[in-house]
């Protein structure tokens, strides 16, 4: 039996065995942001430790930044300003490269890593953020860590970790109209459940995955954690190499050729062993929409919400809680549910291809009256390129707000928040209670194109009617 990518990369980065089950793993790329790092830098300061490999560490600011008048300092929120100053001081004191608001490479950490060629195949990547799994799209082992572990990586460039098992997720069939990468990952999570991935890394593969662009693969890997899998990856292929070629931090010339050789070598062998395999045929599936309070509570747009009488015993409590919070009725459909806010952005769906897909739906139409709609590009580069293509004008003419780059309304650490019981059609990743900033606020997860369609209609609708 051959080896899978996960184990190849793990073995290459293994520093030592710490116990029977625990290894010390070298982290080839440490991404840092303002929320989960200040306490970690403080420990280094107290103990007189340097950052072990500053050249393998890169920082940005994304969670707390306002998306309107972003350059105005100090920020209106004094707590956000304090965090901003902390990351500025920490990166400067410890010699870590900081892509701050004055850099044209600033943006959501999981968007700027890939678009600048910082993220590469065969790396181990850690970041104090659960959506670090995004970078697995390049054939890297990438996962989120807590602040104590951020401290460990800063000081030693290593982590104490148990090796994960690997589940092969084979996606086959033909991708129907209106079905995007977001719909596929929502379907996978709905099928395997939000705890299905515990203890596993997911290898996404099969003809559907092979045909996806890098940005689509990133959307899929991004939400691995919502299915309980700490990491998810796609084997690198020609699409990966073509994407990386010419990017700011990617190898060039002869080094690029050698890099491709390495990248090919770490892909799973044809006869690789896996701990588990799951196959999904997407031929008959339609666009997805979440209706509940976990990302696993999602249905195809033309299907009914589950009946309590048909729900598995284990799911009964969370299903009841979801109906109670969301105010929907068992057996109903989501089509026609009036929305208050439409949000396009986040590390899941804030890339150029996401904005293009949404703009296609929006072009020549108007946002419904009483619906607040906003587009938040995932990075300064995404924003600049979208503006070059005139996408900003498409959105603005339709009545969308065109914002500056950041995490925005995905997680409510900046001024972009829901209020009251607002219902939000959102291209983000989490529909947890209170996630978007209002304790009673409600989130419907869907693809950017579905959000765009909902913004135009003012209610949840099937994007296929627009295509």
């Amino acid at each position: 039996m051959g080896k899978n990518l996960f184990n190849k990369v793990w073995d290459l980065h293994k520093v030592a065995s710490l116990s029977e089950t625990r290894d010390q793993l070298f982290i080839g790329l440490h991404l840092v942001h303002e929320v989960t790092s200040p306490q970690a830098f403080q420990v280094l300061r107290e103990r007189g430790l340097p950052v072990k490999y500053p050249d393998l560490t890169i920082a940005t600011v994304d969670h707390i930044v306002p998306t309107v008048n972003q350059g105005l300092r100090p920020f209106g929120d004094s707590l956000a300003e304090e965090m901003m100053q902390a990351i500025e001081n920490n990166t400067s004191e410890f010699g870590v490269k900081f892509l701050g608001l004055d850099s044209d490479s600033q943006g959501i950490v999981h968007i700027i890593g890939p678009e600048n060629g910082i993220t590469q195949p065969g790396m181990t990547i850690a970041c104090g953020d659960s959506h670090t799994s995004t970078h697995g799209a390049f054939g890297a082992i990438a996962f989120g860590i807590g602040t104590s572990q951020v401290r460990d990586v800063l000081a030693t460039q290593t982590l104490a970790l148990d090796r994960l098992r690997v589940r092969k997720i084979h996606i086959e069939g033909s991708q129907g109209s209106g079905v995007t990468a977001k719909d596929i990952i929502l379907k996978i999570i709905a099928e395997l459940g939000v705890t299905g991935g515990m203890g596993y890394a997911y290898e996404y593969c099969g003809p559907v995955i092979d045909a996806l662009s890098m940005e689509e693969r990133m959307t899929i890997c991004n939400m691995s954690i919502e299915g309980g899998a700490r990491a998810g990856y796609v084997n690198p292929d020609q699409i990966t190499y073509d994407y990386l070629d010419g990017r700011r931090f990617a190898p060039t010339g002869d080094s690029f050729k050698k890099a491709v050789k390495y990248w090919r070598s770490i892909a799973s062998d044809n006869d690789a062993a896996f701990d588990d395999t799951y196959t999904l045929d997407i031929t008959s599936m339609g666009p997805m929409v979440s209706w509940g309070i976990t990302p696993g509570q999602a249905v195809e747009i033309d299907k009914e919400l589950p009946l309590l009488s048909q729900v598995d015993d284990k799911e009964l409590e969370i299903t009841r809680k979801a109906y109670e919070h969301m105010g929907f009725k068992e057996g109903q459909r989501m089509e026609g549910e009036k929305i208050d806010v439409a949000f396009i952005g986040s590390c899941t769906n804030g890339r150029l291809s996401d904005l293009r897909a949404a703009a296609k739906v929006v072009a020549g139409r108007q946002v419904a009256e009483k619906t607040t709609a906003l587009v938040v590009p995932g990075s300064k580069k995404v924003k600049a390129q979208a503006e070059k293509e005139g996408l900003d004008q498409v959105f603005i003419e339709a009545g969308f707000q065109w914002r500056e780059a950041g995490c925005s309304m995905c997680l409510a650490m900046n001024p972009d928040k829901l209020t009251g019981r607002q219902l939000c059609a959102s291209s983000s990743n989490r529909n947890f209670i209170g996630r978007q900033g209002a304790p009673q606020g409600r989130t419907l997860l869907m693809s950017p194109a579905m959000v765009a369609a909902a913004a135009i209609k003012g209610y949840v609708t099937d994007v296929r009617k627009f295509l």
């Binding site: 420990v43 490999y53 104490a160 705890t195 650490m413």
Partner: protein, 205 residues
């Protein structure tokens, strides 16, 4: 967070049952409380929006109930701590006064964060956990004795067998749960792996 230290093998105390599956870290500590540069003060905000409504009035929540006041063992259900990797969640729980957590299952990043802070996280069968929650609810004065070494909890002379990851158990009992010192020791091995990585040497090896 600096010195390696073993934590008490036995954690003894009254318990607070928090029922419900999939309690995510946004519910444990809402994101607005992450706007901070230290973890101080987080204990007061634990489960903030579950405990108080927007007017600041108390809602029904075990952490508001006098009968559980001073409890040091948290008993939860399935997939506790899912979602965001924020260490602020276990920090808030710890700073509130919780010393050990028992549940049906835990999200991995959350469980790892707990171990990093020296909080043992043990799992048990759904029926056993629900029984423990009922005991704590009906008889809040019950003292539970959580043993890391034996992977069990004992109350009123009754013993319930639990599970725990070998790594976490070894680390907690051996005093290596605060990983920094352990990791710092292998400096030479770290540098060796570093210098052998193709992408570090610009693919010239």
């Amino acid at each position: 967070m600096s010195e390696s230290k073993s934590i008490a093998n036995i954690i003894k105390g009254r318990a607070i049952p928090v029922t419900g599956n999939d309690i995510d870290t946004d519910r444990i500590i809402p994101a607005r409380f992450l706007r901070c540069v230290t973890f101080e003060g987080l204990g007061e905000q634990v489960f903030r929006d579950e405990r108080y409504d927007i007017e600041g009035l108390q809602k029904d929540h075990p952490f508001n109930e006098e009968k559980y006041s001073g409890g040091s063992i948290l008993i939860v259900n399935s997939n506790f701590g899912c979602g965001s990797s924020r260490e602020h969640a276990p920090q808030a729980i710890m700073r509130y006064g919780i010393r050990g957590i028992i549940g049906e299952s835990f999200a991995e990043i959350f469980a790892g964060n707990c171990t990093s802070l020296g909080i043992p996280v043990l799992t048990g069968k759904a029926s056993a956990i629900q029984q423990l929650q009922k005991q704590a609810e009906r008889y809040p004065e019950t003292v539970f004795s959580l043993s890391i070494d034996e992977k069990s909890v004992v109350y009123n002379g009754k013993k319930v067998v639990l599970e725990m990851s070998d790594s976490a158990r070894t680390a907690l009992l051996g005093g290596t749960w605060d990983t920094l010192d352990v990791l710092l020791k292998n400096r030479e091995a770290i540098e060796k792996v570093h210098s052998g990585l193709p992408y570090v040497t610009n693919f010239n090896n």
